[in-house]
């Protein structure tokens, strides 16, 4: 028998006038490392990272499910409002988790839409953070939204899972890419579409990210060469807009590095986490 060190708990918090019951997992001790999952998925994507002793020896790794995702419930009366994630609602929710858990100067790791909002956090709250590790981070990512993502004549789970499966690199282990497929097949109706509304329509940080001071908040950007949603060129544009940002294009990796090929990804990640631990000069 193997008992993993990941511990899952529920958190009660309020954002605006709504109350939430949020599921989160954590492992390790040290610098808070707050992990943000991708659109239409949940915190399970970080399970490898949370069992990596090279990380948990130095970091308190925390991953939570956004409302509507995984084991986090929607707020009351959710059935009366179309789910649409926005930049402001996404940031407000992350901040609520951050404050409620009392995270002191965390490092934020986010992938895809999480990588996008990590940039926004670094713009607005850079003095309260050690840094961000943006995975597949773009400042503007139009083109992913389409009406078929939530359509009565289409199985939304199978479409979302198939639509995102090809975002993995062809070299990634099949079992890992399929694990992510499975997560994507489990989102509620319209949740992936609602997330993509943030990622591909509402989010535009092209001007704002120029305000990030990497002497205050470190920025590491890791993007897979096979990512066609946030292409390497899109991340290069982010890096060019933030003086001092570090950037690596990861060979043989796609859009979901932490779940599609963790063994390869961790070689890149550990370097950036070491950088995050190093005191700023």
């Amino acid at each position: 028998m193997t008992l993993e060190p990941i511990v899952g708990r529920y958190l009660r918090l309020s954002v605006g006038a709504a109350d939430y019951r949020i599921y989160f997992e954590e492992a390790g001790q040290g610098i808070p490392l707050l992990c943000l999952h991708t659109a239409g998925a949940d915190s399970r994507q970080y399970r490898h990272l949370m069992t990596d002793e090279a990380i948990t020896a130095h970091f308190r790794v925390i991953a939570f499910d956004l409302p509507f995702h995984g084991r986090s419930n929607p707020p009351d009366r959710w059935w009366l409002e179309k789910y649409r994630l926005t930049t402001s609602s996404y940031v407000a929710f992350i901040r609520a988790v951050w404050h409620t858990l009392g995270l002191d100067r965390p490092v934020v790791v986010g992938c895809s839409m999480g990588g996008a909002v990590a940039l926004k956090l670094a713009v607005d709250y850079q003095h309260e953070m050690r840094g961000i590790v943006g995975l597949e981070s773009s400042a503007h990512a139009p083109g992913r939204y389409n009406e078929f993502l939530h359509h009565p004549a289409i199985h939304g789970g199978e479409l979302a899972a198939s639509y995102t499966y090809g975002l993995c690199a062809p070299q990634s282990p099949e079992s890992s890419a399929r694990e992510n497929w499975w997560y994507y097949s489990q989102a509620g109706p319209g949740v992936y579409a609602g997330d993509v509304h943030f990622y591909s329509i509402d989010w535009d940080g092209r001007d704002a990210i120029k305000a990030i001071d990497t002497n205050v908040c470190k920025v590491s950007l890791l993007t897979g060469e096979y990512d066609y949603s946030c292409t390497p060129d899109m991340t290069r544009q982010v890096a060019a807009a933030i003086p001092g940002a570090r950037m690596v294009i990861m060979k043989g990796i796609g859009h979901f590095p932490m779940i599609e090929n963790y063994q390869l990804f961790r070689q890149y990640l550990l370097r950036e986490l070491e950088y995050m631990r190093t005191p700023s000069s």
Partner: protein, 127 residues
């Protein structure tokens, strides 16, 4: 590009595919594959490629199809494929010359099986 011999090899490989046998129960549809001025029609029945039509006429209806130039198809079939050409959804988003024509709703209703068929297809190298 899509010769009779190649179509036969694809048919054999797809019809032996273990995954398609699991997911293909509702994959009954006809689609076209077009390369420059060549066009083929593939008729699927319950996940099996039942018929390939090399010179389709008026009596070979199909719901949707993929159309691209020979250069784009060659890049799709390359091993390992270059980024943006490694998956049909990648090409639909990032390769302007790769087109999903016809009834896209029907295509997306079959997204899982269609995607699997195209993944298997990519492993059958054209002559």
């Amino acid at each position: 590009m899509f010769t009779e011999a190649w179509l036969t090899r694809f048919q054999q490989r797809l019809n032996a595919d273990q995954e398609m046998a699991v997911i293909g129960d509702w994959f009954t549809v006809s689609m076209s594959l077009s390369c420059d001025d060549q066009r083929r029609v593939l008729r699927f029945e319950r996940g099996r490629l039942a018929q390939t039509i090399v010179t389709p006429k008026l009596d070979a209806p199909c719901a949707f199809g993929f159309r691209a130039s020979a250069d784009i198809w060659r890049r799709f079939f390359s091993d390992p494929p270059e980024p943006l050409y490694h998956d049909v959804f990648a090409m639909l988003m990032r390769v302007p010359g790769f087109v999903l024509e016809g009834d896209t709703l029907v295509a997306m209703q079959h997204a899982r099986a269609l995607h699997r068929a195209m993944r298997v297809m990519r492993t059958v190298t054209p002559a």
